[in-house]
C-alpha cells in the first residue's frame, strides 16, 4: 500500500499536448476516480502512472519512490483493462498466476496467492476454464483477480466496467467497492461514467482537454462545482443552464427577478439541478410542459420557460402533467449556481 504523487506531469504526442502540468496526490488507501469526456486525457494519465507511456515532463512517485523512468513491472502497480486483456490461451489459473510465475515466485507461494484471490472473487469453480468459456462478468473478475494476486501498491482500473451490460455493471461496481474496503488498497479508477465516479470515489478528479478541472469528494463536486463544465458533468440528469442577467444586485431570468446576488451587473449563467426545482404554485418561474417522462416513483418534466429557456425538472411522480399544461416552479436560492456567462 502506498501513496501516489504526480508532480507537473505533462505528455505530448508529436505536436499535440494531451496532458498539461498535472499535479495530484493520492493518499494511501484512497480510491480516486478520473472522470471526463472521451479524449480528455484520463486514460493517458493512467497509462503514464502504469508506465505504459513515458512522461514528457514531470514525476510520478509511488510510495516514496520516483518511478517515472521505471518499466511497468517495477512500479508496484497492477492494472485492470476495459477489454479484460486475459491471455486467451491460458486457463483462469494460468492467467491469475502468470505474473508471479514470470517473476519466479515459488510454486507454493503462487498457489496460495492465486487461491486466495480466487476465493475473494468466487472464481474457484472456474479455475481450469479458458477465458473464451467465461461470461463477460466472469472475465472481468479474473482480470481483477489477476491484479489482486500481484499484491500491488496501487491498483489501476481503466474503464473496467464499460464492456458489461447495465445490470452487471451495477453489480460489479458494488464488488469493486467491497474489494476496496476489504483490501484497503490505493486505487485509481478511470471512467467516463459520472455515476460510477460518484458511487465509487473517495475523491473524484474531473478532467477536460488534458487539464484537471476540479478535485474533490463526490459531494463537494456535486454541491460546489468549480465551473460550468464540472457542474454539467456531475449529476444525472445534467444540470440545467439558463442565460440570465444580474441587474441591480439580483439575478434576473427573462423578466423575472430571482434571488439577490453580489456580482456586478451583466450576463451570467444560472445553473439549477433538475432535482432542485420544486413544483410551487407561488414560484417565480412558470412555463409550459413540453414532454413528460414518467419513471414511476419520479418524473422528468421538460418545461419551456421562455425563448431559449428550457429546463428539466425532476419531480415526484404524484402529479401527472400533459404537454401544454402550465406549471410553476421555484428553486431554493442555496441550490442555485452562478457561472460566468459563456
Amino acid at each position: 500500500m502506498a501513496t501516489l504523487d504526480l508532480k507537473g506531469v505533462s505528455k505530448q504526442f508529436d505536436d499535440t499536448r494531451v496532458l498539461d502540468n498535472i499535479n495530484l496526490n493520492v493518499a494511501d488507501g484512497e480510491l480516486v476516480v478520473f472522470v471526463g469526456p472521451s479524449g480528455c486525457g484520463k486514460s493517458t494519465l493512467l497509462r503514464l502512472i502504469a508506465g505504459l507511456e513515458a512522461v514528457t515532463t514531470g514525476d510520478v512517485s509511488i510510495g516514496d519512490r520516483d518511478v517515472s523512468h521505471l518499466p511497468p513491472s517495477k512500479r508496484g502497480i497492477a492494472m485492470v483493462f476495459q477489454s479484460y486483456a486475459l491471455y486467451p490461451h491460458k486457463t483462469v489459473r494460468g492467467n491469475l498466476g502468470f505474473a508471479l510465475k514470470h517473476a519466479g515466485a515459488p510454486a507454493a507461494d503462487i498457489k496460495r496467492r492465486v487461491d486466495a484471490a480466487a476465493a475473494i472473487l468466487e472464481l474457484e469453480d472456474l479455475m481450469d476454464r479458458l477465458p473464451r468459456a467465461l461470461s463477460g462478468g466472469q472475465r472481468q473478475r479474473v482480470a481483477i483477480g489477476r491484479a489482486i494476486v500481484r499484491e500491488p501498491d496501487v491498483f489501476l482500473f481503466d474503464e473496467p466496467l464499460s464492456n458489461l451490460d447495465a445490470a452487471l455493471r451495477v453489480h460489479m461496481r458494488v464488488e469493486i467497492l467491497k474489494l476496496h474496503q476489504r483490501l484497503g488498497a490505493t486505487m485509481v479508477y478511470v471512467t467516463h461514467d459520472q455515476t460510477e465516479a460518484m458511487t465509487l470515489a473517495d475523491r473524484i478528479v474531473v478532467m477536460r482537454d488534458g487539464c484537471i478541472e476540479q478535485v474533490g469528494t463526490p459531494l463537494e463536486l456535486y454541491r460546489h462545482p468549480a465551473n460550468r463544465f464540472v457542474a454539467g458533468f456531475i449529476g444525472s440528469p445534467a444540470m440545467n443552464f439558463l442565460d440570465a442577467q444580474v441587474r441591480e444586485g439580483r439575478v434576473v431570468l427573462g423578466d423575472q427577478p430571482l434571488h439577490p446576488c453580489t456580482r456586478t451587473d451583466g450576463p451570467i449563467t444560472l445553473g439549477i439541478r433538475p432535482e432542485h426545482l420544486v413544483q410551487d404554485d407561488d414560484g417565480p418561474l412558470s412555463g409550459g410542459v413540453e414532454v413528460f417522462e414518467h419513471l414511476g416513483g419520479e418524473a422528468f418534466v421538460h418545461i419551456t420557460l421562455g425563448e431559449n429557456l428550457k429546463v428539466v425538472a425532476k419531480l415526484d411522480g404524484e402529479k401527472v402533467y400533459r404537454p401544454g399544461d402550465t406549471i410553476r416552479l421555484s428553486a431554493p436560492e442555496e441550490r442555485c449556481h452562478l457561472f460566468e456567462h459563456s
Partner: protein, 284 residues
C-alpha cells in the same frame, strides 16, 4: 430468413436453378482433376480407350504411380519442393509476423513509410527483377541451390504476409500486450507468448496464400535452380512431361502426386481461409 420458411413452388424452382448453376461449375472445376487421378491408375490401353471410366480390376494398373515413386529423381524433386516451401513458409510467417507486430505496436519515426515500403511488393512483382536477381545469385554463388529459392520466395511472400498480419494485429486490442508489460514480460516474450497465440487464426490463411505460389512456381526454379539436384516438383513435372510423353500413366500419376500437398493443406485450412480474407485483403 422469414421468406425461406414459406417455400413456394417458385422458390423451390429458383433454388433448383441456383444449385444447378453451382453444380455445373463444380463439375467443370473437378472434371479435369478427376481425369488425371483416375487415369493415373489405369493401364495405357485403358487410358486411351475409355478415359472417362473409373479403373476396373481389368484396367487397373499401379504402374504409373509405381514408376513415379520408383523414379529415383521424383522423390528428390518432391523433397526439394518440401524443403523450399516449408522453410520459406516458416521464414515468411515468422519474419512477417515480427515486422507486422512492430509496425502495428510501436510508434516510431518512419513507421507509416516503412509499412508502405514493405507492402509495395504486392503491387510490384518481384519477377521484374529477375535479370538482376540472377546476377546477384551468381555473385553470391547461390545458383542451383535451394537457398536461392528460399531467399527469393521469402522476399516475395513477405509483403502479403505483413499486410494481412498488420491488418489483423491492428484490430487486436493493445491492452493485452500492456497487461503483459505490467506482468514484466520483455518485448520479445510478449511477441512469442502473447502475440503469436493471438495471430494463430490468421497464420493458416497466410500460410495457404504464401504456400500456393511457392509450390506451384515455375519461373524461379527454371531460372535460378534448373539443375538436376535442385529441381522442384513443379519444374520436375514440367520436364518429366517432355521426357515421358509415351508413359501416360506415369505422367498422370506424377501430376497427382505434385498436386497432393497443396490439396491437403487447403482442405485442412479452407475454413480459416475466408475469415482471413475478410480480415485482411478486403480492407485494402
Amino acid at each position: 430468413m422469414p421468406w425461406r420458411k414459406r417455400t413456394t413452388t417458385g422458390q423451390a424452382l429458383s433454388a433448383a436453378a441456383i444449385h444447378g448453376v453451382l453444380l455445373a461449375w463444380c463439375a467443370l472445376a473437378l472434371f479435369p482433376l478427376y481425369l488425371v487421378v483416375i487415369n493415373g491408375a489405369k493401364s495405357r490401353r485403358a487410358i486411351f480407350n475409355d478415359p472417362l471410366k473409373l479403373p476396373t480390376s481389368d484396367t487397373f494398373s499401379a504402374k504409373g504411380y509405381a514408376s513415379v515413386v520408383g523414379n529415383s529423381e521424383f522423390p528428390l524433386y518432391f523433397g526439394n519442393s518440401l524443403v523450399v516451401t516449408s522453410v520459406s513458409l516458416l521464414l515468411i510467417l515468422l519474419l512477417g509476423a515480427m515486422a507486422a507486430h512492430a509496425l502495428s505496436e510501436y510508434r516510431f519515426r518512419g513507421n507509416t513509410l516503412l509499412g508502405l515500403y514493405l507492402i509495395v511488393g504486392i503491387m510490384v512483382p518481384i519477377r521484374l527483377g529477375t535479370v538482376a536477381l540472377l546476377e546477384l545469385m551468381v555473385n553470391l554463388n547461390l545458383t542451383n541451390t535451394l537457398t536461392a529459392l528460399i531467399l527469393v520466395y521469402t522476399a516475395q511472400g513477405l509483403p502479403v504476409a505483413i499486410f494481412i498480419f498488420t491488418e489483423f494485429l491492428r484490430a487486436v486490442s493493445r491492452e493485452i500486450k500492456d497487461s503483459a508489460r505490467i506482468d514484466g514480460l520483455s518485448e520479445y516474450r510478449i511477441f512469442f507468448e502473447v502475440v503469436i497465440p493471438l495471430v494463430r487464426p490468421v497464420i493458416a490463411t497466410v500460410a495457404v496464400f504464401s504456400m500456393i505460389p511457392i509450390w506451384n512456381d515455375l519461373w524461379f526454379p527454371l531460372i535460378l535452380a534448373p539443375g538436376q539436384e535442385t529441381r522442384t516438383v513443379t519444374l520436375g513435372v514440367q520436364q518429366f512431361i517432355g521426357q515421358y510423353t509415351v508413359d501416360w500413366g506415369a505422367v498422370l500419376a506424377a501430376l497427382s502426386v505434385a498436386v497432393l500437398p497443396v490439396l491437403v493443406m487447403y482442405i485442412i485450412f479452407s475454413r480459416h481461409l475466408i475469415r482471413g480474407i475478410t480480415a485482411g485483403a478486403v480492407k485494402g
